[in-house]
């Protein structure tokens, strides 16, 4: 029971944390909850479809279909997170300053929310399809521990959602002054980590070269299966044995988004 709880928890956690951060970062945008619900709903429906098509997807692109599919999802997610951060650098400040949405921000805010709904749908789809497959495997097996394994899975699901909720309420308590800096920093690391994962998948499918592999090995210092290693992996894309290409993807994404945020920040005239 405990084993299945942990597996489902891990799969749920990634999507739940992303939703928690996005929900916090879009505080004050009108229609936010509806857009979030639409994203989760489509993601759940999509994850069942993808789980059912696992075999078909895997056989595409000469056996690298799964990697390409997941890398594409991650690529889109990175673009949307990057765009969100750059958008927030432009509009977040005025929203914070006036504590309500400005006319222009409301209009582009709807476009922003619809893009984020797609992002959330993709995240739920990716993690959800793996969870669905795992639970399906449990249900299909005829072992005596089936009920306890399934209830373990349910427990993991609830715990994962709980963690996402906890992160959201924690972030919501941050004073408005620091709020956008904190959520932007979280999203920046999250996006860079996703870009690194994307590189890992493309290497695994033999679509690009790993360059140095591994570039470093910090597994004795901070193993991936330790709690801290796991948390850093989730939030900042930490890898104990990354390939050179992974690090390259990570650093480039980080820098491109960071410079995008700097450049698009509106110049606020100094009041004497």
């Amino acid at each position: 029971m405990f084993g299945s709880a942990i597996i489902v928890f891990r799969e749920t956690l990634e999507a739940a944390l992303l939703i928690g951060i996005i929900a916090a970062a879009t505080r004050g945008l009108s229609g936010r909850n509806l857009w979030l619900a639409v994203g989760v709903g489509f993601g759940l429906a999509g994850s069942l479809v993808v789980a059912g098509l696992t075999e078909t997807i895997a056989e595409m692109a000469e056996g690298a279909g799964q990697e390409l599919f997941n890398a594409a999802i991650l690529g889109i997610a990175v673009l949307m997170l990057g765009w969100h951060n750059i958008w927030m650098a432009t509009h977040g400040r005025e929203m914070a300053a006036q504590a309500k949405s400005v006319g222009n921000a409301v209009r582009t805010g709807q476009r922003e929310m619809s893009a984020l709904a797609i992002l959330i749908a993709l995240a739920v789809l990716r993690e959800g399809s793996e969870t669905a497959l795992f639970l399906y495997g449990l249900a299909a097996s005829d072992g005596s521990g089936r009920v306890s394994m399934l209830s373990g899975g349910l427990l993991g699901l609830v715990a994962g959602i709980g963690a996402g909720w906890a992160l959201y309420s924690g972030l919501a308590r941050i004073p408005l002054r620091h709020f956008f800096s904190v959520t932007s920093a979280l999203i920046l690391f999250l996006a860079a980590g996703m870009a690194g994962q994307m590189a890992r998948l493309l290497i695994q499918g033999d679509l690009i070269r790993p360059l140095a592999s591994p570039l470093w090995d910090s597994s004795s210092l901070l193993p991936m299966d330790s709690v801290l290693g796991n948390l850093l992996h989730l939030f900042a894309g930490y890898e104990a044995r990354p390939s050179g290409m992974q690090v390259l993807f990570y650093v480039l994404t980080f820098l491109v988004i960071l410079f995008g945020m700097r450049w698009s920040r509106p110049r606020i005239p100094q009041v004497a």
Binding site: G3, I7, T54, E55, A58, E59, E62, G63, A64, Q66, E67, E130, L133, F134, Y136, G137, L138, A140, S141, R200, I203, Q204, G205, D206, L207, I208, R209, L211, S213, P214, S219, P223, M224, D225, E239, A240, R241, P242, S243, M245, L248, L252, V256
Partner: protein, 105 residues
């Protein structure tokens, strides 16, 4: 700009080398062979055949790999080139029984 930089990065790096192909079977949530000997410094194409009806996830922290394999399905995982050493792997969905080791030498 991003797309351009990305395209420039991808292009010269697409791999063309021939690979060494090795098979691995999952049955009753166990890998066989449980130990694979591979040459160090060579890229390996690992074809995992899942003969169970339930899905499995091939995972290895040491190899930095993670791949889902459908029930009664096949999946390809590229590994390496590896430095000489031992690289454990496991099936995440049945971690107790599904364990294996790649030895590069």
């Amino acid at each position: 700009m991003r797309a351009l930089a990305f395209a420039c990065l991808m292009f010269p790096l697409v791999s063309l080398a021939a690979d060494l192909e090795l098979g691995l079977t999952i049955k009753d949530h166990q890998f066989s062979p449980a130990e694979l000997k591979v040459p160090a410094g060579k890229k390996i194409k690992l074809v995992v055949h899942n003969q169970d009806s339930t899905p499995e996830e091939f995972e290895s922290h040491e190899l930095n790999r993670e791949k889902l394999i459908a029930g009664n399905g096949k999946a390809t995982v590229y590994v390496g080139p590896l430095a000489p050493g031992k690289y454990p792997f496991f099936g995440e969905f049945n971690e107790k029984t599904a364990r294996g080791l790649i030895v590069a030498e």
